[in-house]
């Protein structure tokens, strides 16, 4: 489990502190915006990574930017750390509360402030759901491109904090490529505007720096996104492979062919079977892997690309290539991919989603090594992921009620991430480090780089009050983890919880 940045207070001291900060907040916030009772705090105890749970000292739900500024000033004044939270759908524990901290929920900031089709932008509050932006833009023939799988629920503020991707980021980019301006409240309570409607701003690119900064540098209170014209048409192909390695090579071949697909997704046999049982979308259940490839553009363009991609897939050894003939079939092809996680959730009591990214050409090799580890740990893995950009999402199937299985799962996940680093990849493609991947950050980054990250953090937040203990491990933690790593395999009690 992740440690907190500072030594925890005892229960009495915490009650005193809670009362002090609540009293100050209630001078400008209504009673129902300041939550202090355990039963009121329970909904905030975890985000989408529910193996980590912790009650915050208190939770605050403002609905005006001025109040966010006052809350941050009040908390900073009393030395209380602040954890900002959007929809709480994050998968790395980035919004995990601190037991001596203030949980700042931005859920009430749910208004679209402006949507201008001529300027192709939407200015929204941070709690607006990702999909709500595209829905509002739809009547104008526009949409917001990044589409993380949680887009029905996840908020745009959280998308900026995590630099979220999605199915279509292969062609249309990540959050960082689709945001024009962000307003943040810094730890001093000042409202800063980063970026703007022009294509660049003077000075350092702070908009790029704040994107993906996991709530460590400031609290995001407004986001202006770029809207894109919807492509005239989208077509999808489904290719089946008898061999995982050939499917991996087919991904590289498609990408080398001079076409950038709108999406290129892969599922392995365990994922295909779980999905087919659940969603009945007609996937070939005897295949070792399937690829889903979407191309879009004008009618003429898409038709030409479908033929080209079909050729590449066939030459890459696909045992079958299907092309969706109409919108209904296209939706059916995608239905399976989009319901893969719940489908896997049905065949296993629990699953743990990993988020490493690797160079595409190493796909086959990494999938093979994952199979070996799966046998070694006695835990099944289903793979369903963004193959086109090398972003893996292995789902490790486990049962939390079996003693030691969570720990084994976490260790297995850690080994997968270390393979990702070894082949030149990264421990997180789109879910963020949060509290979950702090140890693997020690493997990915040497001490000097980590020190540089901490220096950036201090430049924004000298006392470390914004989401402390997340995203970047302390050097001390890495030293401890590194020491333990050397002795891995020789630990007398591998089932013991480790810090």
């Amino acid at each position: 489990m992740a440690g907190t940045a500072a030594l925890a207070l005892d229960e009495t001291a915490r009650s005193v502190r809670r009362a002090e900060i609540a009293a100050e907040l209630l001078t400008f916030l209504p009673r129902d915006s300041v939550l202090t009772e355990p039963e009121e705090l329970r909904p905030f105890e975890c985000d989408g990574l529910s193996v980590y749970r912790r009650l915050p000292m208190l939770a605050v739900l403002p609905d005006r930017v001025e109040d966010v500024q006052r809350i941050v000033r009040a908390a900073a004044g009393q030395g209380v750390p602040v954890v900002a939270r959007g929809a709480g759908t994050g998968l790395s524990g980035g919004a995990l509360p601190l037991e001596d901290g203030l949980l700042l929920s931005l859920a009430k900031f749910n208004r679209i402030l402006e949507l201008d089709p001529d300027r192709r932008l939407a200015r929204v509050e941070p709690g607006v759901r990702n999909l709500a932006i595209s829905e509002a833009a739809d009547p104008h023939g526009l949409y917001y491109a990044p589409d993380p799988s949680s887009q029905i629920a996840c908020s745009i503020g959280g998308n900026v904090a995590e630099n979220s991707g999605g199915l279509h980021c292969l062609k249309y980019g990540l959050t960082v490529h689709n945001v024009l301006e962000v307003k943040v409240v810094d730890v001093a309570g000042r409202l800063l505007t980063l970026g703007g409607e022009a294509l660049d701003t003077p000075g350092y690119d702070l908009l790029a720096l704040i994107t993906g900064s996991e709530g460590m540098l400031g609290v995001i209170v407004e986001v202006t996104v770029r809207l894109l014209p919807k492509p005239e048409t989208a077509r999808v192909l489904l290719a089946a492979f008898d061999d995982l390695g050939r499917a991996g090579d087919a991904v590289a071949n498609v990408m080398a062919s001079g076409i950038i697909p709108a999406g290129l997704e892969m599922m392995d046999r365990p994922a295909i079977r779980a999905t087919e049982d659940f969603a009945h979308c007609g996937y070939p259940t005897d295949a070792a892997a399937i690829l889903l490839c979407e191309v879009d553009g004008t009618e003429a363009e898409a038709t030409a690309q479908v033929e080209e991609v079909r050729g590449v897939l066939e030459r890459s050894g696909a045992s079958e290539v299907r092309v969706a003939h109409d919108e209904a079939e296209r939706a059916r092809f995608w239905l399976g991919r989009k319901s893969a996680f719940p489908a896997v959730g049905r065949i296993s009591p629990d699953y743990y989603c990993i988020d490493g990214t690797i160079p595409r050409k190493r796909l086959a090799e990494v999938l093979q090594r994952m199979r070996q580890l799966s046998a070694e740990y006695g835990l099944d893995v289903a793979n369903v992921f963004h193959a086109g950009d090398g972003n893996l999402h292995p789902l490790i199937l486990f049962d939390a009620n079996r003693p030691g299985e969570i720990e084994r799962t976490e260790e297995f996940g850690g080994r997968i991430l270390e393979i990702c680093i070894e082949v030149g990849g990264t421990v997180t493609g789109e879910h963020g480090v949060g509290v979950e991947k702090l140890d693997q950050m020690c493997v990915q980054f040497p001490a000097h780089e980590l020190e540089q990250f901490h220096a950036i953090k201090r430049a924004w937040d000298p006392r470390g009050l914004l989401n402390p203990g997340k995203a970047v491990p302390t050097l001390q933690r890495c030293a401890e983890f590194g020491a333990m790593h050397v002795h891995q395999g020789n630990l007398p009690f591998p089932e013991l919880e480790r810090y």
Binding site: L199, D205, G424, T426, E449, A459
Partner: protein, 352 residues
């Protein structure tokens, strides 16, 4: 093709120890840009060469001293390009230079800026530490995005050693159309076209005519050409515009200074004495004007953007002043990377 990492690192370390300001220089082709260079020259142009080009991965890693021209030629052989279309003001212009100055070509509004294509960097910070951020993979959210922060920092946060880029396939078909329109009408049409998924890759108004570059699959280019109308145009315009060889940019040192106004694309034509060339579909307005700086800055701000005195003119304050609150944040970030202010001090703003 030599790896100069250790030489560069040792120079920065020595400068850190002795508190000696360094002036980073690649091809030495952008001395005109920013506040006047000062400090001992740190030549990085010898640190050149391709470290990795994996065509099927659409990834390129090059040393910062590699000439832009060489890089473009090598990628063209594989039908690929750096889609921010880096300008080369002279043949010696380096990759490190275009990244440090965040220079993007005419395709920028449609393909993305330098920072949008940067996947990773290797730098030497102001303490002389060699650091790597990002990498060669498409998606990477481990740690702060230091690599993109380097784009446009003008070398004030670190000396660039290597940069990794995402590549794109070059569009198969490329056609230019020309329409006789006023600037105002051009902006109105561009705003309208921007709402449709047209394969536009460049749009420039030279004062009398609107030039539109269409690129992509043959069929969609032909379709779009019909919709846009006009006459066939000369495609060589885009390179001359990108590299500032277009007559509009001539005699920058003797004639009126070259100002760059970065504004929202839909902003109406700016009313300033001098001549105006509209690029980036309206989002970048080049102005040759002897008008005082504050007048240009005010015009840019009114339009919702900012102004840079790009070439010629007064060099005390070429960049738009930072908003309140952002200035001290910049100073603290500078300190986080370069505590003794030895890397290109004062080149961007006096205090950085």
């Amino acid at each position: 093709m030599a790896d100069q990492t250790e030489v560069i690192r040792d120079r920065v370390r020595a400068a850190f120890e002795s508190d000696t300001p360094l002036c980073i220089e690649g091809g030495g082709t952008k001395r005109f840009l920013g506040r006047a260079p000062a400090g001992e020259p740190l030549k990085v142009g010898e640190h050149r060469g391709v470290v990795n080009h994996a065509p099927s991965e659409l990834v390129l890693t090059v040393r910062a001293g590699t000439p832009v021209a060489d890089t473009q030629a090598a990628l063209a052989e594989h039908g690929q390009w750096l889609a921010f279309d880096p300008p080369r003001h002279e043949e010696a212009s380096t990759i490190g230079g275009v990244v440090a100055c965040a220079l993007s070509g005419p395709a920028r509004p449609w393909t993305g800026a330098v920072r949008d294509f940067v996947l990773g960097t290797r730098i030497v910070n102001g303490r002389g530490d060699v650091l790597s951020f990002g990498g060669e993979v498409m998606k990477n959210v481990a740690g702060y995005d230091v690599s993109r922060l380097m784009a446009g920092a003008l070398g004030t946060l670190g000396v660039l050693l290597e940069v990794s880029f995402r590549l794109l396939p070059r569009p198969a078909w490329d056609r230019t159309r020309v329409l006789e329109l006023t600037a105002g009408e051009a902006i109105r049409r561009l705003t309208e076209w921007a709402r449709a998924p047209l394969p536009i890759l460049g749009a420039c108004h030279d004062g009398e005519r609107l030039h539109v570059r269409l690129a992509g699959a043959e069929a969609s280019v032909a379709e779009a050409a019909e919709r846009i109308g006009g006459e066939p145009g000369d495609g060589s315009l885009w390179e001359s515009l990108r590299d500032h060889r277009h007559p509009f940019f001539a005699n920058a040192e003797d004639g009126p200074p070259v100002w760059r106004l970065s504004v929202p694309a839909h902003a109406p034509p700016v009313d300033l004495p001098g001549s105006v060339l509209i690029d980036w579909g309206g989002a970048q307005r080049w102005v040759r004007s002897d008008a005082p700086g504050p007048e240009l800055r005010a015009a840019a701000e009114t339009a919702g953007g900012h102004a840079t005195c790009f070439r010629g003119g007064d060099r005390d304050e070429p960049f738009h002043p930072l908003a309140e609150g952002l200035d001290d944040l910049h100073a603290r970030l500078k300190c986080a990377f370069d505590p003794r202010r030895i890397l290109n001090p004062g080149r961007l703003y006096p205090d950085l």
